[in-house]
């Protein structure tokens, strides 16, 4: 997996600087500036790099044929899928890092709001849950209909997911709270399922 991570980091650093800057800005500049109110929900912007970076990497891999080459190299499906999870984790850290820098820069008073850390934990858990769904559906979504339609389909799915949770979170609060408590574990446990989906996705070739 070290080789795959090395390759992904090389591609991100050499060919995705502009998107990295965009994601950094999107997380750094909180909604506070637009709304005038400290807003923990601005953490949703962290989903942008968490989804955008692995998705962009997958698109490039499929377009330049690397995904075919990768399967001839001595990497197991677990290592291939694991490298996507690792990149998603790094992307989440990139987003969180700039988000909190932005909070410190523009709305430090947010940190002293009542229930701040409780709300922050709630938001982080939601993000991990959505990231889990994204990683599970990544290979399945983009494989069978081509990379461009697959990306469009995935983005729509995630946007609907975010809207649903934001609008109806209260209604399903009980279930969501239970899921949120274990969302970091769900993120990790989704790896074997992703591997199975990745193996199945080969049948679409």
């Amino acid at each position: 997996m070290k080789g795959l991570l090395y390759k992904n980091l090389q591609v991100i650093w050499k060919d995705m600087k502009l998107p990295l800057v965009f994601y950094a800005l999107a997380c750094f500049l909180p909604w506070t500036i637009l709304t005038g109110t400290p807003e923990i929900d601005a953490m949703d912007s962290v989903l942008l790099p968490a989804v955008g970076i692995p998705l962009d990497l997958t698109r490039r891999d499929i377009k330049n044929g690397w995904d075919s080459m990768e399967r001839t190299l001595p990497f197991s499906p677990r290592q291939i899928v694991g490298s996507k999870y690792a990149i998603s984790a790094l992307s989440l850290l990139w987003g969180f890092g700039f988000y909190w820098l932005g909070q410190l820069a523009f709305c430090r008073e947010t940190f002293s709001a009542p229930n701040y850390w409780e709300d922050a934990a709630y938001s982080i858990a939601i993000l991990l849950l959505l990231d889990t769904i994204f990683l599970l559906t990544l290979h399945a979504s983009v494989g069978d209909v081509g990379i461009d339609w697959g990306t469009f389909r995935l983005v729509i799915l995630l946007a609907l997911g975010v809207l649903f949770v934001s609008s109806y979170g209260g209604f399903l609060l009980d279930l969501i709270i239970k899921l949120l408590l274990v969302s970091p574990l769900l993120w990790l446990l989704s790896i074997p399922l992703s591997v199975r989906i990745y193996k199945r996705k080969r049948s679409l070739l």
Binding site: K7, G65, S68
Partner: protein
Amino acid sequence: MNAIQCRGLTKAYKDFTLDNITFDLPAGTILGLVGENGAGKSTTLKLLMDAIPRDGGQVTILGTDNQSPDFHRTKEDIGVVLDEACFPEVITPKELGKLMGYAYQNWDQAQYEAYLDRFRLPRDKKFKEFSKGMKMKLAISVALSHKAKLLLLDEATSGLDPMVRDEILDVFNEFTREEDNTVILSSHIVSDLEKICDYIAFLHQGRLVLFEEKDRLLEEYAIVKGTAEQLDALDPAAVAGKKVNAYGAQALVRRSLIPATFTTEHTNLEDIILFLAQDSSTSL
């Protein structure tokens, strides 16, 4: 020992089926896999690597079932060159060497550098700036730099000029000087295959029409020319393919089965393949 054992390999697509491919390839030999565009050469190689799942059959590569959980370890001993070299666009040969060093336990950086020098490939140029020939040479350098025992080369010489093709065929020949090293080279440039291959497999419309030793093919088969009526008089078992036009007729025949009264001409691999392709129901 066989480097590859293939039994009933099958893959069905909507409008194409690779049907019941069966062959054994002894270790230490070079197999030329020939066929027209769309015959199934690339599909066969991808199925051998389990890069795409098969619909039926069994494949054993270097003693391991290619669908076993351990097959990714066997890939350490297999070098693959796809029909289009598929590395990340922004990566340089230097970085590619580092990547492959992480991927392969037996990666030989000194060997890789030697091939880069031999093929005159710049180390710090991005892959997307390479010409087609350079990309192919880079892919071959990678395939030959991890002590592989088996090379799978999918159209590795297509689109290259004759000088470069000759250089690359020499490299493949050198590879097989190690006793157990095996090569499968797919190509529709039959003259390349005739130069270096020990075995020839001919794929036509998804079927394996022919799998034979090259030298035996060239000894056994010959061209006979005459009128259509003369050729019709031949034993059908002797005739492997026939062409009739306004100027006369030619047939590909088994020398041992035709009367001595017929004058035969030596044939080459290209003629044999063309005759067989024309009569697609023919199987040797």
